[in-house]
Amino acid sequence: MALPGESTLASHGPKRPARAEGRRPPAPAAYPVRTEEDLLTVRHAVRAATVAVGFGLVDQTRVVTAASELARNAYVHGGGGTVSLDYPREPSGRRGLRLTVTDEGPGIADLEAALTDGFTTGAGLGHGLGGARRLMDEFTVRTGPGEGTVVVVTRWAVR
């Protein structure tokens, strides 16, 4: 499940400038997740992004739901973080939406368990990670005790 292209995750400022790479708009953007209101803002932004990419209604719902799960994870377990959106494009022209959810929390000690349904250490049902993985086409996670967590998910538009 390798991602095409490198995900840039280095700095952790609340807002990062957009990278322009000859892609068409919309431009990549980053949203902080510090409060509960931020969760709603992320959902709105992701919904708008799915519409811009041309996703159908069900795909829109899948991606917004996955974003909501991941953002909540970052908020609850990671003590806040960032959700970045960008728009990968395959040479064939197929468009996608990629979410990069970063937090600097304690990290996930047992990733295997966290991806299993029913595993939870906070509010919710423990479907956050595993559920988001099922709702998206591509899924990678980088984490470790004390290292924070970076989850990168992509969904491609079907045309």
Partner: protein
């Protein structure tokens, strides 16, 4: 080297394009209906895009990929070939044939063997990337076409029919994989909403085998139907499939199943007039 090539491209563009088109026609590489006029158009576009690429000062082996116009020209060309049904080898060979046309043009300006050799090496480094890019694009283009076709096929092959007032049926034909399940769910749930249906019958007569994955997909569909507030009956369970299900230890006990569509319809109608207000799916699973 760059200047020489740039000059050749600028001064002899017509000639290069002609020769390239000619080579492609000669090699009969294109067993397709792409005509000479179109080849010529492609050639002009690519040659025109090469000039700014060479002038940009980017390392030679990155010119093709990092010059936007050039990149697009190669990708566009390869996609058209993919759609027209050319083979991937023919497609990248056609792209690489431009090297010969270019070398010929350079040869008109110099006869110096060393310089010609250096030019040839330079062109290889410049354009082999284009061949590779072309190949890659081609493959992706085909994949895209296949994806689109199978999507269309799936959508056409999962009709939802109304059997009775508030009873719908989906006859499934072929296997039930993840992509197919998504399409079936989407069509079925939408139809349930549109018709205010209370029961959906999923007929699996046309499904060759039921393994764990298929059973899981059936369960997903049933669960989604129930979340909408409707109920599900599975029909067309042949003896052999029933046996397989039993042997695999798949639990479909929460789902109402029937051998034939007719039986399922009878069951559906009974479900609706049946137990009344308190007889709804009590456990919501």
């Amino acid at each position: 080297m760059r200047e020489r090539l740039t000059r050749a491209l600028q001064e002899r563009d017509e000639e290069i394009a002609d020769r390239w088109v000619e080579l492609q026609m000669e090699q009969a590489l294109l067993d397709t209906d792409i005509g000479e006029a179109e080849l010529r158009e492609e050639a002009d576009a690519l040659i025109e895009a090469l000039v700014p690429g060479l002038q940009s000062g980017v390392p030679v082996d990155r010119v093709v990929t990092s010059t936007p116009g050039l990149h697009e020209a190669v990708v566009g060309l390869s996609m058209r070939r993919a759609r027209a049904g050319a083979t991937p080898t023919a497609t990248s060979l056609a792209v690489l044939a431009i090297k010969e046309a270019l070398l010929k043009a350079v040869q008109r300006d110099t006869r110096d063997a060393e310089e010609l050799f250096a030019s040839a090496v330079f062109m290889n480094r410049l354009l082999d990337v284009a061949g590779a890019l072309s190949f890659e694009t081609y493959v992706e283009g085909r994949e895209e076409i296949i994806r689109r076709q199978s999507q269309q096929l799936m959508e056409q092959s999962t009709p939802v029919v109304r059997l009775w007032r508030q009873v719908l049926a989906v006859p499934l034909i072929g296997t039930l994989d993840t992509a197919r399940t998504q399409v079936v769910m989407e069509n079925l749930l939408q139809a349930i909403q549109d018709h205010e249906a209370l029961v959906a019958i999923i007929d699996i007569t046309g499904v060759p085998t039921v393994d764990t994955a298929v059973a899981q997909h059936l369960m997903q569909t049933v669960n989604a139907v129930r979340l909408m507030g409707a109920d599900c009956v599975i029909s067309g369970v042949r003896p052999s499939i029933a046996q397989t299900i039993a042997q695999l230890g798949i639990d479909l006990s929460t789902i109402l199943t029937r051998a034939t569509l007719a039986d399922a319809l009878a069951a559906a109608i009974k479900l609706m007039d049946g137990p009344g207000p308190d007889g709804d799916e009590g456990d919501g699973r």
